[in-house]
Symmetry: C2
Subunit: 243 residues, 2 copies
DNA sequence: TAGTGGTCTAGACCACAAA
DNA sequence: TTGTGGTCTAGACCACTAA
């Protein structure tokens, strides 16, 4: 198990956060299981209660844990509710919804950046982009069509991967050290153009949920522009608001 | 100015939060303006730094303030980005988008709760609901149709108000002390039914962004069920995700 | 009664911005 | 040099849960 390094430049709470988060995501601590009490975490990591609570507050805010006064702190069960606030892969998304994901790669090529996409990514028009178009299936039926544009400069050769089987996000992380940690997106309802309607197996002009997303790396650099058309009759988004 | 009551059952941080929040929302503290430093807040309200910082963390998380190390803490400028995370009135929403809002009341009546809505609100089917149907305009053109269902028990007589001119949210707050502080919603793309298409001035089966929302009061009681159909060609949602 | 999380205090040292 | 927010500590009292 990783432990806190007192000489690190990283704040103690940040190190402890990474450690606890890893224990949860790796399933070392199972959903529903009680995690060590605040007192135990203080002893184990030799930090103050304030620091421990700061970390638990962060994890609770993210929905990874929940607390029960007088009882303890527990690992939360993953819920669909997280979908719209956390960046989630198609595979993960479908699994949360209880459907079996599938993928067909429709096309994959290098293209010069069109003006509109270049603007969104903060690069020059004409710069080389890796374009990947995929049909996504849920339980064998078409669910969405995704069009990814990656700034090729940051991930030369990405298109050599097989993205029917592998996750694009995983490849970016493992081969290029790029973690997509933040994204901005807009959501619209638009009628399916003819070609898209055929791919999705719906009548032309059917309502689709259309999302445009720009994703940023851990260094806050725009890396990907994504267009997704979801079938309106099969897909819905969920989120929570506060006043 | 309100001040903290030490004998109150409410936690100090909660009272201080309400006070600072009110100063911001009432525009007593203008956007961009520096708010009192942590040291000043400690003196003014006679609480510890921990308590002050807990409150500032909450406000920063909400996006109401931002901090600059070494400089101070400032009131944030309202941004469109808040739209999908904060609960926003139609009027406020349109103003942020730079359009002039308008409203026509289509119908208003008391109805027994249908099974599906009763479930969402956590009440018995058949319980009395106040139903309000409104057409929303932006720059004089139809933008959306809203159908509100309020649990009448909590706000007897609401329907006497004129909700073409007044905000329903304001009426709930001022007349019934109900503040909608939290909501859950799902977002879909669906084709406009004939009747709706006429109201929105679009062809039948046009794509609409359809939102179902359950809103909760400060006491965490479900108060309102809302259905909104936005014209797909005029409206888009925006939000930010984190990895 | 013992253990848990919720709230709160008084103090400390740091890096950074501005004068 | 002064004031700001960022991080961290050690300790306290409370209400609640479970044995």
């Amino acid at each position: 198990m990783k432990s806190i390094v007192r000489t690190s430049k990283l704040p103690l709470y940040h190190q402890l956060y990474e450690i606890l988060r890893e224990n949860i995501l790796s399933r070392e601590w199972q959903p529903g299981e009680m995690i060590p009490s605040e007192a135990e975490l203080i002893d184990q990591h030799e930090v103050s209660r304030t620091t421990v609570r700061q970390v638990l507050d962060m994890l609770a805010k993210e929905g990874l844990i929940y607390r029960q006064p007088g009882r303890g702190t527990f690992v939360a069960h993953p819920t669909v509710e997280q979908a719209l606030v956390r960046i989630v892969s198609f595979t993960e998304d479908m699994q949360q919804r209880g459907e079996t994901p599938g993928t067909h790669v429709l096309s994959s090529s290098l293209v010069p950046a069109p003006q509109d996409i270049a603007e969104r990514l903060g690069i020059e028009a004409g710069e080389e982009l890796a374009r990947l178009e995929r049909l996504r299936l849920a339980d064998g039926e078409p669910m969405s069509v995704e069009e990814s544009y990656l700034v090729h400069r940051y991930c030369r050769g990405v298109l050599r991967g097989d993205y029917a089987a592998t996750s694009l996000r995983q490849a970016l992380e493992r081969q290029y050290g790029i973690r997509l940690v933040r994204a901005k997106q807009t959501i619209r309802a638009i009628p399916a153009p003819q070609k898209l309607a055929r791919l999705l197996s719906v009548p032309p002009k059917s309502a689709t949920l259309y999302i445009e997303r720009v994703s940023y790396s851990q260094d806050d650099i725009a890396v990907e522009f994504l267009r997704i058309h979801y079938r309106g009759d099969r897909y819905s988004l969920y989120n929570e608001l506060q006043g």
